[in-house]
Every structure is written in structure tokens, then in C-alpha cells.
Symmetry: C2
Subunit: 408 residues, 2 copies
């Protein structure tokens, strides 16, 4: 069985880790920054060197295509090259590098394929400098309005818009090059898991069935600000105590639901947040994710059971945002699983907690993803790490899946 | 029985409320600010108009003295004219205005007194612009080092020190004018309660026996920052959940202690405080106050029973600061109580939760305080309010107490 090259993949990872190197094991590579443009240039150079033709669409998404032997629609594979601030060397970029390596293996080994093979680089997946995340796949797939996105302002420079960055990048191309069902038959995205499950459970490959649905709520507790030294306990309306009790309530109740539910109270604010004043306004967020919408409905029922007053504080809550569960194409999921098995790699089916460009594409063409383990689950930080041997397994599953799809 | 004048007291409250008027029912009058200097000038003008001699000490504390009929040490009464940002028209200033009104009543009614009667204005009680609070009484009474205090930097102007503000104020006087046991026999401070007890229990006057001891602890919970969407619940170390559980534990345990204990978890911080990331570091404060040191020791025992790990997060804590219980002079407390009774005002003995300049003076000369009710307990805010009729009762108790001390 043909395999990708460990040495070549290692070289790719090492080379791309220089673009935005923080010097502490990670990168800061905001979309369309000089560092990201350097990574794009390297991508273009390497893909052209193996005979690919590189074009960009109007959102600067890059498509590097090896022609197929027949006049068929292309099979896409890739991810993004941008990172969060002080991010790691695997989130996103590994999906591009493994797709490059699969393509390079096909070329070097002269592996016949009927369909064109296209490696794709998405623009601004992280939304770290210009919100929102998954901006350009979102525009292409009809989730976001392009004109609104062009007005998105950089977090670090007043009035500097994404549209301006796009024009200055030199990578804004033609709308006709966009991903579309006419020209593209399927999309595969390899990604690091960004969680601890594969490593902890001892699996090489995550066969991704979809992306978990998610709800995000913000809770507000209104009490009464009074002096910590003069107000007897019985007269108090302590918004932080009410919030703490509610966090405990949510844990108690949500822990009774399905074991695959993940939920997080990650953000809290307290007013006036002075040690000698009883808090009068506390807010916290709840993020809950599960692949089954019925479980998220149970979460909502638990939220709705919170009484209107807790510890004499008024409670209110509102949905900040939500996402429906995305199911990937079952026939592609099966092919990924089969590929992993044929490669002799241990694998498990799983849902993705985080969002990925692939989830928007799933509405347009058959799509799925491949996960490789994240050591200790670290991601979006400089500790993010996946050994190159584990990355290679992912590349081999990706290559095999591309070739099996090519035979469909 | 001679009474202070409602009209005159109302005029004083109205006049002083102009200095730093926020236009929303309160004042911002930082110590030594132009607004505070205007209030000092009004104080000086009014006290000189009734025959008082006004001097200042080296910390700009003001002493306005009516001579007595004998060559004896003076009886002091007063408080402070500075406020917190957007504070009220009663905290501090009412202690000055009622002392002024008592002095004016003595002058207008030709009430004989053996001792000089001195109205005192303390500099920078709030510490709102230059920390710490009770700065100048602290210096005079040996709690703070003067040179260190002079270096205290304004919160709003870089490098602008308290020493500079003191020199520019024109109120820095002679160290020999400081309060001292040689020249001063006793101090009385009238203050608003800053809490809801007197109003809720239906009492006119609080006979203050002392100032509650206080401990202030900061707790730190160290967990692990991980992705909210990828980390199964069983692998999590959620520092906010650990903190919420500990807040609940503290409430459960502390509520079993003496009913007069007040405790507050007023301040919380959470890192990284992002709704999609499990918090890895959460800190919160605990402020606990009681008049009986044995109860505060019980609080400490409860703190020490917190396990070193809560929800797999490491727990640590440290005392941020503490204050021993201050007992006021029992013979003066008795006189205040007797005065209130003779005036026909309902009264209750109580301890002060907040600190006051008087607590430092209590180490130097016999000292006590008189509280009047705070409507709904509001203080340090624009809602702070005490009806003038209630203020007048305080002024009358103050006057009567001064005259009874004069006979000691």
C-alpha cells in the first residue's frame, strides 16, 4: 500500500512553523497578515512545483488543482493556514499540509486518478483578527453576507477592514473560482482533534460523523449592592452567591444527561467587583454541545427550570447563539473508516465539538473530516502538539480516502 | 432641653451638597480636590463666624475651636468632608455638619462649657483618590508612616502625589497642632450607619460600642484551560466550578456561626474568561466581620477545612488584610446612650462594620461614635440618604453628649 512520506511531511510542518513563529513553540499567524501571506506563497510555490494550477476566488480562498485523467468534478481537501494569537502548529495548517503531502505522493508515485485533486486553503477560519470565524467558507456557502464581511474591522487597527486587507493581499481572485457543486464532488478536511479523547482512549484516527449542535446562553443575576460591613446577611441580595448556586444547579442537573454532553461556564463578570461591596450584577455564560438535538432540548428544559428568583436576586437568561448539529455525508464517513481500517490504524467514530469550515461546505457538497490526536488535548495554544508519526497516519487515511472517492 | 436647629442643619446640608454636586443627588469630592477645598473654606468661614479659631496640622486636618471657660483639654467632634466617586451627602460630612451645628447651638444659646469645643475635619478618610483610607487620622495616631503617605500617587494623574496635593492645598499646617492626649480629652464622631439595621429595626440612634474585627482572604483555584467543545466532562479541571462549589461551602458553613457575622464574596476574576474555554484560574475574595474575635477564629477554621483540591483544581488562599476589633471607651458609650434616652430617642447598641477615623483615635484618647439611620442602608452611592429630622436627632445626641463630657 502506498504511503505518504514521513520525511516530507516533517519538512512541511517544520517549514510552515516558521511563518509567524512566536519562538515559544507556537505561531501567531492572523489571516492575511504578512506571516500568513508568506505561508500562502510557500503553499503556491510547492503546489506549482508538483504540477498543480493555483487559483483564488473572490474571498482569497486558494485552490491548487492536479488534473485528473477524466473530465470530472474535483475532489477537494484542505483546511486553513491562519491561527489564533499564540496558537499552535497543527490547528488548520495540518489539514493543508497533509492534503499537500497526499497530492505530492499521488504525483511522485504516479498514482492514477480520474478526478482532479484540489488542495484548498480557506481564508480567515479563526476570525482572530477579523470576526467572525469561518468567514470565507461561510460566504462561499451562503452563511454570511459578503458585503457585511468586507466591513469587518480589525481588532488591532481602527477602521482597517477585512475588505481592505483582502485587496492589499494580492490574493483576491474571481468569484467564478468559488467551490461549487458543478465543479467539486466532495470535500475532506483533516484536523487535529483539539481534545483529549483519541489520545486517552488510544485511537489513531477519529472518524468524524458530524459537528455537535451547540447552544450558548448568558445568565444575568440582579441583586442589590450594599456595604459588606453593614448589611446583615438576612437583608442581602448577593448576585454572586445566586450565580454560584445556579452554576452548582446546572452541574447537578446536566451531569444526569447523556455522558457525551459537554457544557462549560467559561465566562463570568461581577459588578461592582469590589471586595467590600455585595455584588449587584453577575453574568455568566453556558456553552453546551451534543450531537443529538434531543439532548440539547433537555439542556434547555433544565435552564427553564431555574426559578425567576434565586437568593432574592432576579434571574434572566437569553440565547447568545446556537448551532444545529451538522451530519457529514454517511457514505464518506464510511470510506474514512474503511480507509483507516485498511491502513491498520485504530479508529473511533466521533463528533466534532469545535466548528470547522467543512461544516459549512457540508450543506453544498458531500463532506467529511478526519481527526488525528492532540497530545493532552491542548489546542489554540503553543502547547498544541501531534507527533509527526500520528500526522502521517492521518495523511495516509486522507490519501486512501481520496483514492477511494476517486473510484466512486 | 436645648435643641439644635432643624433649619440651620438643613441649610448646612444643602450648602455643603453643592461642593462636588454630581447633579444626580450625590457628590464626587475627592480629598484636597477643588471641590473639597471649597467645602473646607465654607467650614472655616462658618466656624470663624461663630467665634472659633481654626488651625490645621501637618496633614491638613482642621481644628476649629471654641474656647472653654477653664484652661482644660478640648473635646473633639467631627468627621471628614471628602467622598468616594459619586458618593452621597451624608457619609462623613454629616459628622462635620452636626458638630458644627452643636457648636453653633452652644454659641447662640450661650451654653456654658468648661472645656474648649473643637470641631475636627479629617483629611482623606475615603482614600478614593490617594490610598489608603483613613490616611491622616492614621498618620496622627501612629498607624501609617507619614513619608510613605506623602508618596501615595493619585489614581487619576500619573506621578501626582498626596504630598504635592497637600502643599498645593494651602491647608498644610503645623505638626504641633496635631490631636494629642495633652490637648484633647475625648473624641466623638457622628456618622450615618451605612447599613439597614437602624431603619429596619425602628431605632433613631445607634450607640456604637466599637468597630468589628475583619479578615479578608483571597482564594485561588488552578485548573486546566481546555476547549469547551472537545473536552469530555470527566477530563476537566474547571476552576470556576471549583470556585462556585467553594462559595457554596463557605455559605453553608458560615451561616451556622453567630447571626451577627457578616461575610461577603465581593470580587471574582476568571482566566481566560472566554465562553468557549474551560477556566484555568479563578480568584475570589472573602471579607468577614464580627465584633468577637472568637467568631472570626471560627471563620478561619472553616477556611482551613477547604480541601487542597476541589474538583481536581488546586486551592490556595492567603490573608489579604485584617483588622482587630476596636472597642470604644465604655464610659463614653454609656454617655451617648444616656443622652439618647434623655432626648427621648429610641436607640440600640451596635458595632460598626466599616472603618472610621475614630477607630484610630480610640488608641490615643477616649473615643466613641453615634450612628443615625441610612435609608434602605444605601451608602457610598448617590442614593445615600438620611432625612434631616433623623440628622437632627443625631445632632441633639451629639450636643448633649458633648455637654455631659464637659461635666466629667
Amino acid at each position: 500500500m502506498v504511503s505518504c512520506s514521513l520525511e516530507r511531511l516533517e519538512d512541511k510542518i517544520r517549514t510552515f512553523s516558521k511563518f509567524g513563529d512566536t519562538g515559544r513553540g507556537g505561531i501567531t499567524r492572523f489571516s492575511l497578515s504578512p506571516e500568513a501571506l508568506a505561508a500562502r506563497a510557500e503553499f503556491k510555490k510547492r503546489m506549482e512545483a508538483i504540477g498543480a494550477k493555483v487559483v483564488t476566488d473572490d474571498m482569497a480562498n486558494m485552490y491548487a488543482t492536479l488534473p485528473g485523467s477524466e473530465n470530472l468534478s474535483a475532489i477537494l481537501s484542505g483546511s486553513h493556514l491562519d491561527s489564533v494569537k499564540q496558537g499552535g502548529n497543527y490547528d488548520g495548517v495540518l489539514g493543508v499540509l497533509t492534503a499537500m503531502e497526499a497530492a505530492e505522493t499521488i504525483v511522485r508515485e504516479n498514482i492514477p486518478h480520474r478526478h482532479p485533486i484540489t488542495v484548498i486553503v480557506w481564508t480567515n477560519e479563526e476570525g482572530a483578527r477579523f470576526e467572525p470565524a469561518m468567514m470565507s467558507s461561510g460566504v462561499i456557502c451562503g452563511k454570511f453576507d459578503k458585503e457585511t464581511m468586507l466591513q469587518s474591522v480589525a481588532k488591532d487597527i481602527p477602521d482597517y477592514t477585512f475588505g481592505q486587507a483582502l485587496r492589499e493581499s494580492g490574493y483576491a481572485g474571481d468569484e467564478k473560482n468559488r467551490l461549487s457543486p458543478d465543479k467539486h464532488m466532495a470535500l475532506l478536511e483533516l484536523h487535529v482533534e483539539q481534545g483529549p479523547v483519541l489520545e486517552a482512549e488510544g485511537y489513531d484516527i477519529g472518524v468524524v460523523e458530524g459537528v455537535c449542535g451547540m447552544i450558548n446562553y448568558e445568565f444575568t443575576f440582579l441583586g442589590q449592592a450594599d456595604h459588606a460591613g453593614t448589611t446583615p446577611m438576612k437583608y442581602r441580595k448577593d448576585a454572586l452567591y445566586a450565580a454560584a448556586k445556579t452554576i452548582q444547579y446546572l452541574h447537578d442537573e446536566l451531569d444526569e444527561l447523556d455522558g457525551k454532553l459537554v457544557y462549560t461556564t467559561g465566562k463570568i463578570s461581577c459588578h461592582p467587583n469590589i471586595h467590600t461591596i455585595i455584588p449587584d450584577e453577575v453574568k455568566f455564560t453556558l456553552d453546551a454541545r451534543h450531537q443529538n438535538p434531543a439532548v440539547l432540548r433537555q439542556v434547555l428544559e433544565i435552564i427553564r427550570k431555574i426559578p425567576p428568583e434565586v437568593e432574592k436576586c432576579k434571574v434572566s437568561y437569553a440565547e447568545a447563539w446556537s448551532r444545529k448539529t451538522v451530519a457529514y455525508a454517511p457514505e464518506l464517513v464510511d470510506i474514512v473508516e474503511k480507509s483507516a481500517q485498511e491502513c491498520g490504524y485504530t479508529n473511533m467514530r466521533m463528533y466534532s465539538g469545535p466548528g470547522h469550515d467543512a461544516q459549512y461546505v457540508a450543506d453544498v457538497i458531500p463532506t467529511t473530516m478526519i481527526f488525528v490526536p492532540s497530545v493532552e488535548g491542548h489546542s489554540h495554544c503553543e502547547l498544541e502538539y501531534t507527533p509527526v508519526s500520528a500526522c502521517l497516519k492521518g495523511a495516509n487515511v486522507l490519501l486512501r480516502t481520496l483514492l477511494l472517492i476517486d473510484k466512486m
